[in-house]
Point group: C2
Chain length 228, copies 2
């Protein structure tokens, strides 16, 4: 961490700190010393939660509360924060103890996610809610649609299972019909079948899970059309 | 609910709505109709969480994150929101279906707590974060010290048990030595003893639990003094 690199980080965040000490603290892991980021993380977690809630409230103005809750849970997950921390090149800015740094601490998802929350808390302390909300919107808005699709689609498998269980039918069968593309750029084709009804759905997705959800959704659509 | 009683409620809240429809919606249970308070509750829950976090961050500027998290969990609990809803006379303002109203819905803690969160969300939508934060501070600041004492004291029993377990000693014994006062205004005296050390602590409290915590705290103090 140098002054120049902190300047770059602030440019990436789109926020120049009035109190630069807050940013340094947000980047300081508890292994490094007493003035670490855990209290800012406590605050940042709550700022993030509200700013994301507000974003979803606006974005999905017809969705029931349960749907918003599910998308929010996906957006504020550690893996999402970790991804954003990497996009901001946080690993090189973290302050860790020598031992933690040698052990690869700067790449640990939990340490990066915590620092990301601490930065959001630091912006809130530095310039108030509107500034922190602006940061959260810049970072998270591009992820909302993708995440909502995943979060809601995820429910398709659960919904299908519940639909079948309520009618004492056996669980659906999922099988991979095809995979296309190379290791890091694959598309999966999954077939979901409900034997008793002779119904099948064929889903495609960038992961097996996504393809299964899509397939389950198609089966659900057919079942609900034929059983209304 | 009448215009006059809504005026009184706004006076008690210390916030006059620009959009009165938001307040009406916040008071509307889902049993009453489609324009109910669940989405505002989703938002209000997050506003409350941040405003309380911020309050604690300021109030306890030396406390570690874990302590703040524990107090926050106590402050945003349903029973606390229920208590505040009663202090604002919310039951008479709620809009419920006839069936729900006949069943005593206006007194149900969960319905009142949800409406309380929805009101906080409504103020946030109506006038922004600062207004909602002001409301939360007015409502919750008087409860902070009492709640922190409970939340941190609660840990004394757990801490004592962990201390003893770490040394492979048997669990402490708690017994009620005396109760004073009448049914709704009692004081309990509890003795906590650690047989192997011949140490006792005597705690008093308005509930058995509070007295046990106080007793455990005193035993812990003695043990930590003699074992440093």
């Amino acid at each position: 961490m140098s002054t120049a690199s902190l300047d770059h980080l602030q440019a990436r965040l789109g926020h120049v700190f009035n109190d630069g000490g807050l940013l340094v603290r947000a980047l300081t892991h508890r292994s490094h010393g007493a003035d670490h980021n855990e209290r800012l993380e406590f605050l940042g977690d709550a700022v993030l939660n509200l700013a994301v809630s507000d974003l979803l409230f606006d974005h999905f103005d017809d969705s029931p509360e349960g749907d918003l809750t599910r998308v929010r849970a996906h957006l504020v997950r550690q893996d999402m924060l970790h991804r954003i921390a990497l996009s901001l090149a946080l690993p090189q800015e973290l302050r860790l103890s020598e031992g933690e740094a040698r052990g690869g601490g700067a790449q640990r998802p939990s340490i990066l996610a915590d620092a990301m929350e601490a930065i959001i808390g630091a912006v809130y302390r530095d310039a108030g809610y509107a500034a922190a909300q602006g940061l959260v919107r810049r970072l998270f808005e591009p992820l909302v649609i993708e995440t909502a699709t995943q979060a809601w689609a995820k429910d398709a498998k659960t919904q299908l299972q519940e639909w079948l269980q309520a009618r004492r039918l056996s669980v659906p069968d999922y099988r991979i019909e095809a995979t296309r593309g190379r290791a890091h750029d694959q598309t999966f084709v999954v077939v979901c079948s409900v034997v008793e009804h002779g119904i099948e759905g064929r889903g495609e997705g960038r992961s097996r899970r996504a393809a299964e959800q899509e397939a389950a959704r198609l089966v659900l659509d057919q079942l609900s059309r034929t059983h209304e």
